[in-house]
């Protein structure tokens, strides 16, 4: 169900974006996007099981049809105009040719929506079904099976490049995503273990043989990641802080035990664990060192590898 929603959203976003681009470009008399749209919609409808060819590549260039599928006897006129005159002209012009008699012509409105036409168009043309605007195309796709929606979504994702949204730098995004992941409220039972917040004791006594490694790592990462950490931490509130602390205390303790109390190995395993978690939940490239810095920062606060009392 989640996959269906994600993929349907992609289809909806991409087609709506293309539609608005056509509307806005045409309002400025810029019609180059319409020309590219013909080939785009050829490939798009071919994903839905047709075998359309662009008639522009045909020597007998048909004036009232853009895409034709001789196999399924289907023809499409791709247009940004939604008035009844345009539809009548397309139908009359198309069916004038004898070889088109067996074809079904449909109009694809790439910009404006279809109207509730009162004109009788003839040629067995039912405007409610044969004029396809973006809303009607979306509602047809909505009834498809998830795998088919997914295939269409992947195609649209490849073909239509949305303007890149303003994002934070990778290190800030990494820490923000990590904070989001750690503070998910998934019926987590809060840890009630008592601990002793004493970073000096932890680093210089408990992990004495690794103290140089820990302080060295923190020192070298601090200059690079401290600003990102401060920025990403702005959004933490009291409830998130409790959830994060509880999650890290439990998990880090288990991982430390697994690694025979070796903080270097345990830290490495935790970095890999969170890196993999974040990577499978999204598609972005995350910054491993930012995760390491975050965990070292939490180690100082005694949320990672807590000292027991």
């Amino acid at each position: 169900m989640d996959k269906r929603k994600v993929k349907s959203d992609i289809v909806q976003q991409r087609l709506s974006y293309l539609q608005m681009r056509v509307i806005n470009s045409n309002s400025l008399n810029l019609t180059d996007v319409n020309i590219h749209a013909e080939n785009f919609y050829r490939d798009f409808f071919n994903k839905l099981g047709f075998q359309f060819k662009n008639t522009n590549f045909d020597s007998q260039n048909a004036a009232h049809v853009d895409l034709i599928d001789p196999e399924n006897k289907q023809a499409l006129q791709i247009t940004a105009q939604n008035d009844n005159i345009k539809i009548s002209e397309a139908l009359n012009g198309f069916y004038k040719k004898d070889e088109h008699r067996e074809y079904k012509l449909q109009l694809v409105l790439i910009g404006k929506d279809a109207k509730d036409y009162t004109t009788s168009f003839g040629h067995n043309f039912n405007h409610r079904e044969d004029v396809l605007d973006i809303k009607r195309i979306l509602s047809k796709i909505d009834n498809f099976e998830t795998d088919q929606i997914s295939e269409i979504a992947d195609f649209l994702d490849n073909e239509i490049l949305l303007p890149r949204s303003v994002t934070e730098s990778t290190e800030v995004e990494t820490i923000m995503s990590l904070i989001d992941f750690l503070s998910q409220e998934k019926n987590r039972v809060l840890s009630d273990k008592k601990d002793n917040v004493d970073p000096e004791h932890k680093i210089y006594n408990r992990f004495a043989s690794h103290a140089t490694y820990i302080t060295g790592q923190y020192g070298s990462l601090f200059t690079v990641y401290n600003t990102a950490f401060a920025k990403a931490s702005e959004k933490i509130d009291g409830v998130m802080a409790i959830l994060i602390s509880s999650y890290l205390k439990d998990e880090s303790d288990a991982i430390l035990n697994k690694n025979n109390n070796n903080p270097k190995m345990a830290l490495g395993e935790m970095v890999d664990f969170f890196y993999n978690k974040l990577s499978t939940n999204g598609f972005k490239k995350f910054d491993k060192q930012a995760i390491r810095f975050y965990l070292l920062e939490e180690m100082i606060k005694c949320n990672v590898f807590p000292n027991s009392i």
């Binding site: 509130d237 009291g238 409830v239």
Partner: protein, 77 residues
Amino acid sequence: MIINNNENIKTSAVYVASLILKEFTKHKGKRLTIFELSAALKKQNIKHYRQLFFGLALLYGTGILEFSEPYVYILND
């Protein structure tokens, strides 16, 4: 525990609640809209809705505030 040792004091519910009360004092009134409060807190670097929410929840829970959409009322002077 009113402030968690892992949270930033400047975004804690207690601190946000104090900023909300300061805003009421500044306006010398008993009533502010949620939008006025949100705009005022933004200037103090409280940008996330949950931080505002927890500040308001603390004041509501202690009987200092009451809500009547879109206004927030002070009950006690």
